[in-house]
Amino acid sequence: MTNVLTLENIVKTFPHQRRVFTAVDNVSLSIKEGTVYGLVGESGSGKSTLARCAMQLMRPTSGRAVFEGHDLGKLEPKALRTIRSRMGMVLQNPVASLNPRMTIGASVAEPLRTHTALKGQALQARINNLLDEVGLGAEHTHRLPHQLSGGQCQRVGIARALATSPRLLILDEPTSALDVSVQAQILNLLQDLQQQKGLTYLLISHDLDVVRYLSDDVAVMKTGKIVESGTAERIFTDPRHDYTRRLLEAAPGHGRPEMADSHTLPTLTTQGND
């Protein structure tokens, strides 16, 4: 199997209060065609920064991002724009990721107008087709984002990302702003699309259950580094790194909190609060 995306020794630093803050610290990974790579970590772990470096939305301080054999960092701006039509991105906040003044149809049409020669009827047909693929009727074309629910907006976001038939989708917390019932709809949709089209996903999430549900391979990030990676099966059944184990234990729905692990509390004084 070929690698769709390979990241080699990516480092990203930001100047922060006269010092250098390292958001991503020498991360390498490769994503095989037709698989889902889950990147899990808490806020500030650098997982979103890494994804933005992979798409060259931010230039990495050092390291290479290789997509379909092209070193993205070495491409001219125009060539980079063209190659971005082969990668799609779905963002966390579905409503905010759509221009509030553009209709759903116009939002989906935007990448098509830039990267394809589709016009008029053919363009409209393609838009309807895309909306249909994500489970939205053509009647949504003329609506504005605020007239749709969060789940519907995320479907639009997915349709837009799929417009130019990319091979790779980067999903940045695609369901964390949604209710569980809607999350289930979106997760089912993402899974169906991946299987039908043989898509490759880079899935970024803080939700271990979501990562486990979709991913083939998983990497756990903490303070800019990957602390553990492997198949999803292995990571979730046999975590080896201490941090991975702590993360798994803390996930909600995995049992009542033990009074024993409440060592964070100091001994309470006898003089109570009544």
């Binding site: 724009r81 990721s97 935007e110 003329h142």
Partner: protein, 304 residues
């Protein structure tokens, strides 16, 4: 009965049941209906526009409005013939106020348009691109802002000579930095929006991102500011005329009329008072409407 029986849907006002768009006129009517002050503002503006367009047919003495003197009727108090009285050259004050609406409105519209045309692109580029370009453009705007507008106007007029056009040029020069700064601040925050990032991820060219995603979403504050500014420029142009740097006699201008009537304020109060009142009402009208535009232009309003 079988569990698969079709159940009629309850009526609900969810997004699906809503009409997607409303006609702008209808929306305007709704807003004005809800907001009395905006309605007052709009009425004043409509009146000023009517006077500006049809003034020469509406004015009782159009030739006097343009400056023709009438020595036999000087300093007449308001009467049945001259409703707002006559000035020291015997010209009908009402006619001159009506005829003054056109230059006042024209200069404001032109100044605001010019300021916006210069300021908006510069501000958008500075705010969206950031970095050294932002720094450089902002320093330039600060230099322009550092000059007092009246001083700048006096210098311009001293070079080009006093006239309404030159006063307009002077005002536009001192006005555009405000638009640049306003748009820059908006663009800087819009740049961080999710949909702008999504557009970049899709490989949309920068200029399209700026025009389609950034500028389109800062139209609301720009239009609000522009509406209020039309009023403010009427005042500023009047001020320039008042100190003799704008419209030159005998052309009608509200500021100039106040200046002409200033010396006679105790004996013939109407000469200066009514043009002053005209300025006050026009500025008030644009201010009232400007504030309400904010609500009107919110895309979420379309839902109602």
């Amino acid at each position: 009965m079988s569990p698969t029986t079709q159940i009629p849907a309850p009526t609900r006002s969810g997004p699906a049941g809503e009409q997607a768009t409303l006609k702008p006129i209808k929306l305007l009517k709704q807003t004005l209906g809800r907001d009395r002050l905006a309605a007052v503002g709009a009425m004043i503006i409509v009146l000023v526009v009517i006077l500006a367009v049809f003034g020469q047919w509406l004015a009782p003495f159009p030739d006097q409005g343009m400056g023709a003197t009438n020595a036999s009727a000087r300093n007449l108090a308001p009467n049945a013939w001259n409703w707002l009285g006559t000035d020291q050259l015997g010209r009908d004050v009402l006619s001159r106020i009506i005829m003054g609406a056109n230059p006042a409105l024209t200069i404001s519209a032109v100044v605001v348009a010019a300021a916006a045309l210069i300021g908006i692109p510069l501000g958008a580029v500075a705010g969206y691109c950031g970095g050294w370009l932002d720094e450089a453009l902002m320093r330039v705007t600060e230099i322009f802002q550092a000059f007092p507008p009246l001083l700048l106007a006096m210098v311009t007029v001293a070079i080009l000579g006093p006239s309404l056009t030159n006063a307009g040029i002077a005002l536009a020069i001192s006005w555009w930095p405000w638009y640049a700064r306003l748009v820059r601040a908006e663009a800087k925050s819009l740049r961080e929006r999710s949909y702008v990032e999504a557009a970049r991820a899709m490989g949309i060219p920068q200029l399209l991102i700026i025009s389609r995603h950034v500028l389109r979403n800062c139209m609301t504050p720009i239009l609000v500011q522009a509406t209020v500014d039309i009023g403010t420029v009427i005042l500023a142009a009047g001020s320039l005329a008042f100190i003799g740097l704008g419209t030159q006699p005998p052309l009608p201008d509200w500021g100039l009329m106040v200046a002409e009537g200033r010396g006679l304020i105790f004996s013939s109060w109407w000469i200066a008072t009514f043009p002053g009142l005209a300025i006050f009402l026009a500025v008030l009208g644009f201010n009232l409407l400007g504030d309400s535009l904010r609500d009107l232009l919110d895309p979420r309003q379309v839902k109602r």
